[in-house]
C-alpha cells in the first residue's frame, strides 16, 4: 500500500510540473477543450473514412486480406472515438447524438444470421432474430417494412431501437463490428468472432446466404457512421453549436468538462461497463465483444478523461493539440489538489493499462469475467477502484473551483431560502 502511494505521488509530481506552462483563463481553457474535441472527432472521422475505404475494398474483392484490412481499420477507428466519450454527459448535444453511433449491447440477430445457440425470437424482443440481411420485407410493430434496399435511412429510421427495445442496435460501431467479426461463440474462452470473408462473396462462393444484402448493410452502416461523425465534428469547429454552447457561460462550461469526466468515470465506465459484467459474470457484458477489443475500449475511455484534464491530445498523425487546461486552473489555487488529481488519473491509466497488457498477451477480457477467475476479477476491480477513486478527486476539484458538478442551470432546491421564500 505504501509503495503504491509513493508511486502515485512521484507520478503526480512530474506531471504537475509538466502541466504548469499556461496561465489559466477559463475562456482559454474552454477553447482548448473545444479544440481537442474538434481534433478528436476529426480523427474519428478520418479513421472511419479509412474504414469506409477498407469496407469498399472488402465488398469489391472479398478475401482474408481485405477482411483483415477492414478489421484493422475498425480497430484503429476506435482509438480516437473512445477518447471522445468524455464529451458525453456534460454536453447535451453529444448525449442526444451518441446513441446511434456507439450503442451497446445489441441483439445481433436483428441484423444477420446467428448461431442456433443464440435462441429464437423472445417475448422480450420479437425482432432479435429478425435478420434484416435475409429478409427483404418483414412486419414490425404490426406494420410491413420494405427492406428491399438496405439504406442508411432504413437503418436509422426503421430499425434502430425498433419497438423501443434498446438492444435493437442497427447502426454505429458495434453493428459494423458484428458485420466484420460475426458472433463471438467462445464464451469465456479466448477468441473473437470468426466470420468468413466468403460471407461477402458473390455467386456460389457466398456463405450463409444473402452476401449482396450483407454487403449492402455493411456499406450503409459505414456510410451512416461517416455522416454522423461529419455532423458532430462540425459542431466543435469555430461557429459550431457545441462550441458555442460551451463558451456561452464560462462556469457552466467548466462544469460541463468536470461533469463529463466524473459521470463517465464512475457511473458509465466503472459501473455499467465494468462492475456490472463482473457481477453477472456474463461475457455478453463486454463492450467490444465481437472484436474482443474491450481492453482497448476501456483504455481509451480512460485516456480521454486524462487528456481532457491535461488539456492535451496527441492526434492520429502525431500532432499535439495543447493549451490552457483545467490542470493549470486547479494548480493556480491548489497545487496539492492538482497533483492529487493528476496522480489519480495516472493510477487509472496504470490499472487500465494492466488490463490491456494482459489482454494483448492472451488473457482476454471475456476470460477475466469468468466466475471464480480471481486474476481477472482483480484486474477489472483494479480499474473500477481507480476510476472510482479518481472521481472523488474530480468532486474535490468541483468543490475547489466552486462550480456545480451536476450541471443544471438555475436549479433551486428549497435549501436555497433566498430562491424560494422571498
Amino acid at each position: 500500500m505504501k509503495a503504491q502511494l509513493l508511486g502515485v505521488s512521484a507520478l503526480a509530481l512530474s506531471a504537475s510540473i509538466a502541466g504548469s506552462a499556461y496561465a489559466a483563463e477559463k475562456a482559454d481553457i474552454l477553447n482548448n477543450y473545444a479544440d481537442i474535441a474538434a481534433a478528436k472527432y476529426a480523427d474519428a472521422l478520418v479513421t472511419a473514412s479509412t474504414l469506409q475505404a477498407a469496407v469498399d475494398a472488402l465488398i469489391a474483392e472479398p478475401s482474408d486480406i481485405t477482411l483483415q484490412a477492414a478489421k484493422d481499420a475498425w480497430l484503429a477507428a476506435r482509438v480516437p472515438y473512445q477518447q471522445t466519450e468524455v464529451f458525453r454527459f456534460g454536453n447535451a448535444i453529444v448525449d442526444d447524438w451518441e446513441g446511434k453511433v456507439n450503442a451497446w449491447p445489441l441483439d445481433e440477430g436483428l441484423i444477420d444470421y446467428v448461431d442456433a445457440s443464440y435462441g429464437g425470437a423472445s417475448d422480450e424482443n420479437e425482432l432479435r432474430v429478425l435478420n434484416v440481411v435475409a429478409n427483404a420485407s418483414f412486419t414490425m410493430s404490426g406494420e410491413s417494412v420494405d427492406a428491399a434496399s438496405i439504406t442508411p435511412a432504413l437503418l436509422e429510421e426503421s430499425l434502430h431501437e425498433a419497438d423501443g427495445v434498446e438492444a435493437n442496435v442497427a447502426t454505429g460501431y458495434h453493428a459494423i463490428e458484428f458485420l466484420l467479426w460475426g458472433q463471438d461463440l467462445n464464451g469465456h474462452e479466448a477468441g473473437a468472432g470468426n466470420r468468413p470473408f466468403t460471407d461477402y462473396s458473390s455467386g456460389d462462393a457466398c456463405t450463409n446466404g444473402n452476401c449482396d444484402r450483407r454487403a449492402e448493410y455493411l456499406k450503409s452502416a459505414t456510410d451512416l457512421l461517416i455522416s454522423d461523425l461529419e455532423w458532430m465534428a462540425a459542431q466543435w469547429v469555430d461557429g459550431g453549436e457545441a462550441r458555442a454552447t460551451l463558451l456561452a457561460d464560462e462556469d457552466a462550461g467548466i462544469s460541463a468538462i468536470l461533469t463529463g469526466m466524473g459521470s463517465l468515470s464512475y457511473g458509465e465506465q466503472a459501473g455499467e461497463r465494468m462492475r456490472l459484467g463482473l457481477m453477472l459474470n456474463d461475457p455478453e457484458e463486454e463492450h467490444d465483444c465481437f472484436a474482443d477489443n474491450t481492453h482497448n475500449s476501456h483504455y481509451y475511455v480512460g485516456l480521454g478523461i486524462q487528456n481532457v484534464y491535461l488539456g492535451e491530445y496527441v492526434r492520429i498523425d502525431g500532432t499535439l493539440v495543447e493549451g490552457p487546461s483545467l490542470s493549470d486552473l486547479v494548480a493556480e489555487s491548489d497545487a496539492a489538489l492538482d497533483a492529487e488529481m493528476l496522480g489519480k488519473l495516472s493510477q487509472t491509466m496504470r490499472r487500465l493499462g494492466q488490463i490491456k497488457t494482459a489482454a494483448e498477451a492472451g488473457f482476454r477480457y471475456d476470460q477475466m469475467l469468468e466466475r471464480g477467475n480471481a486474476g481477472g476479477e482483480a484486474l477489472i476491480m483494479g480499474g473500477v477502484n481507480a476510476l472510482v477513486d479518481q472521481t472523488r478527486s474530480i468532486e474535490r476539484v468541483v468543490a475547489a473551483l466552486g462550480v456545480s458538478a451536476i450541471e443544471f442551470e438555475g436549479s433551486d432546491s428549497l435549501d436555497n431560502p433566498e430562491a424560494v421564500f422571498q
Binding site: A92, D95, D96, G99, S122, D123, E124, N125, E126, S141, G142, E161, D163, G164, V165, E166, A167, G262, S263, S265, Y266, G267, E268, A270, G271, E272, R275, L276, M279, L280, N281, D282, E285, R371, V388, T391, R392, I394, E395, A405, I406, F408, S411, D412, S413, L414, D415, P417, A419, V420, F421
Partner: protein, 504 residues
C-alpha cells in the same frame, strides 16, 4: 435506521404505541422545524395568479429535475442532483433493470431463476424506455406491458386486523394474484388476454364530438382450469417510472392530512388513504405505489414485480416459484435459481440496485410554462377543480442519506389518495382498503412526453384512453362534476387545458 428500530420497539411496547401509517419507517427523516413548516405551507398553497408561471414551476422535481430531451430517452436520466458516486449504482441498477432473466438451471448463475410463470423476462420489457405500457395492438400482439390481477372475496378471518376497513380478499386458488401469459418450456402458460372495445360517442360543447372506447376483458386459453366463479379481474398497464423516489419521500402525514374520507368539507370529493401491510417493516404503512396504492415503498414494489411479473425471488418475497399456487405443483417443483451464493434469485444487493434505479429516474423539466395558452389551461385546470385530487405541489422530507430526494419542492399533481372514479372505470376488485371503484390519483408529471417516449398516447389504468381528452372524459364518481365542466366549457378552454397537460 432509528426508525426501523423504533418500529420494532413500538410494536413490542404494545398497541398504544404501534407504529402506523403516519410513520415513514422507510425514510431517515430530519424533522421539520415549525418555522420550516410555515415556509412549506406557504409555498404549497395553490396559486391564484395565472398571469405568469410560478417560481420553480418549470422544475417539477426541484433540483432532481432533468433536462427535457426531445427524444425517447427523456424518462431515462438519473436525478439531476445525483452525485457521480451514485450514478454508478444508478447505471448498474439500469443494467439489472434491462437484464433478461433466464431459466434454471443455467451456466449464468447470476441471471437464472426466471418464472416458471412470468409476464416478462426483464423489467424494461414492460417499462419500455421507462415510460408507460400500452394495451395489445391487436389479437396477435403480445400482451406484454399489461396483465390481469385476479383475486376472490375473502372472509372476515382473511383481513388484516391492524388495518381498519381492510377489504379481505384471497388469491384465486388456481392462479394466484396475477395471471402470467408466459411460461418456461414444459409448463402451461396461465392465459391469453382478450380485449374487445366498443366505441361510445360523447358530444361536447361547440359541436365537437369525442369517442371513447369501452373495453371488455376476458382471460382465455386458461392453462390451469376455469377461474373461480367469484374471480375478480383487474387489468393493469405498466406505469411510467419517473419521480418515484420523490413520491416516496412526501411525508405520510401530509398525504393523510389531505384525506377527507367522509367529505366533511362537502366538496363532493373524499380522498382516502390506502393502508397496507409492509413485509419490510412489519407494520401498517401508507400505500403509495401501484394503480390502487397497494404498495408502500419502492423496494417492496420492486420485490413484488420481481416475484409476480418475472418469477424472481428476493429476501422480501422469497418463493423461488414466484407466485405459483399450491395447486400449480409442476411450477413449484420445477428447477429454480435460488440456493446458490445469492441465496435468493436476486440478492439484497441486486434488489437494492434496482430499487435505487427506480427511485432516481428523473422528471423532465416543463416546457412552455410561460406560453399564454398553457397559462390559460393552468387556470382552467385550477378553476375546474382538477387540483382537488391532482394536488400540484408537495415538499419532500428532509432526509439523511438521500440527498436527491431531500427537501425538494415537487409538482407531481397527485394527492396519492384513493378516489371513487365511478362505475365506468371500476375494476370491481378491491385491494387492501381500496374498493372496486377506487383508484389512486396518478401523478401527471411527464404526461405530455408520453408520445415522445413511448410512441403512443394511451392513458388510464388499462390504456383505454387514446388521448388526454379521452382520459378526462372517463372520469366519473367523485370527478363527475369536473368531467362535466370539461364537456360544457368553451372549446378554446378545453384546448388550453389539454395544452397545459401537454406541457407537464
Amino acid at each position: 435506521m432509528s426508525h426501523a428500530l423504533c418500529a420494532g420497539l413500538c410494536t413490542l411496547l404494545g398497541s398504544a404505541l404501534v407504529a402506523g401509517p403516519i410513520d415513514d419507517p422507510h425514510l431517515d427523516v430530519i424533522p421539520r422545524t415549525p418555522a420550516e413548516q410555515k415556509r412549506i405551507d406557504d409555498v404549497r398553497a395553490p396559486t391564484s395568479d395565472f398571469g405568469a408561471a410560478e417560481r420553480f414551476e418549470s422544475k417539477p422535481a426541484g433540483a432532481a429535475t432533468v433536462r427535457a430531451t426531445t427524444d425517447s430517452n427523456a424518462f431515462s436520466y438519473p436525478s439531476g442532483n445525483i452525485s457521480f458516486e451514485d450514478q454508478l449504482d444508478f447505471k448498474v441498477g439500469n443494467g439489472l433493470f434491462k437484464k433478461l432473466w433466464v431459466s434454471s438451471p443455467s451456466s449464468t448463475l447470476a441471471s437464472d431463476g426466471l418464472g416458471p410463470l412470468y409476464n416478462a423476462r426483464s423489467c424494461q420489457r414492460c417499462h419500455v424506455k421507462d415510460g408507460r405500457g400500452h394495451p395489445p395492438a391487436g389479437p396477435d400482439d403480445f400482451a406484454i406491458s399489461m396483465f390481469l390481477r385476479v383475486s376472490i372475496p375473502g372472509g372476515s378471518e382473511d383481513g388484516v386486523a391492524e388495518i381498519e376497513d381492510y377489504i379481505a380478499t384471497l388469491p384465486e386458488p388456481n392462479y394466484g394474484e396475477q395471471l402470467q401469459d408466459f411460461s418456461l418450456a414444459g409448463q402451461p402458460a396461465e392465459y391469453k388476454l382478450d380485449i374487445s372495445y366498443e366505441e361510445i360517442e360523447v358530444p361536447l360543447s361547440g359541436g365537437e364530438v369525442a369517442s371513447l372506447r369501452k373495453p371488455s376483458y376476458a382471460a382465455t386459453n386458461l392453462g390451469y382450469g376455469p377461474l373461480h366463479p367469484d374471480a375478480m379481474l383487474s387489468p393493469r398497464i405498466a406505469p411510467q417510472m419517473i419521480g418515484l423516489g420523490l413520491l416516496e419521500a412526501i411525508p405520510a402525514a401530509d398525504i393523510l392530512a389531505a384525506a377527507d374520507p367522509d367529505d366533511l368539507d362537502g366538496d363532493g370529493i373524499s380522498g382516502r388513504p390506502n393502508i397496507v401491510w409492509s413485509v419490510e417493516y412489519d407494520q401498517p404503512m401508507l400505500g403509495r405505489f401501484g394503480l390502487k396504492a397497494g404498495l408502500p415503498t419502492i423496494r417492496h414494489q420492486t420485490a413484488s414485480a420481481f416475484s409476480g411479473d418475472i418469477g424472481i425471488s428476493t429476501s422480501l418475497l422469497p418463493a423461488a416459484w414466484g407466485e405459483c399456487t399450491e395447486l400449480q405443483t409442476q411450477c413449484r417443483e420445477a428447477p429454480h435459481g435460488d440456493g446458490d451464493v445469492r441465496v435468493f434469485e436476486v440478492d439484497d444487493i441486486g434488489l437494492g440496485l434496482v430499487t435505487y434505479y427506480s427511485r432516481n429516474l428523473g422528471v423532465p423539466a416543463r416546457r412552455d410554462v410561460e406560453d399564454p395558452q398553457v397559462l390559460q389551461g393552468k387556470k382552467v385546470f385550477y378553476s375546474t377543480g382538477c387540483i382537488s385530487c391532482h394536488t400540484p405541489k408537495h415538499v419532500t422530507h428532509r432526509l439523511s442519506g438521500q440527498p436527491e430526494q431531500s427537501f425538494q419542492l415537487i409538482w407531481p399533481y397527485t394527492d396519492l389518495l384513493l378516489h371513487d372514479m365511478g362505475p365506468g372505470l371500476a375494476d370491481n376488485r378491491p385491494e387492501a382498503r381500496a374498493t372496486g371503484t377506487e383508484w389512486r390519483t396518478p401523478p401527471l408529471w411527464g404526461i405530455g412526453l408520453t408520445e415522445q417516449v413511448s410512441g403512443h398516447t394511451y392513458f388510464l389504468h388499462d390504456g383505454r384512453a387514446r388521448s388526454l381528452l379521452e382520459a378526462i372524459l372517463w372520469h366519473g364518481g367523485e370527478a363527475q362534476a369536473q368531467r362535466d365542466r370539461v364537456v360544457d366549457m368553451p372549446p378554446e378552454d378545453r384546448a388550453a387545458l389539454i395544452r397545459f397537460l401537454e406541457s407537464l
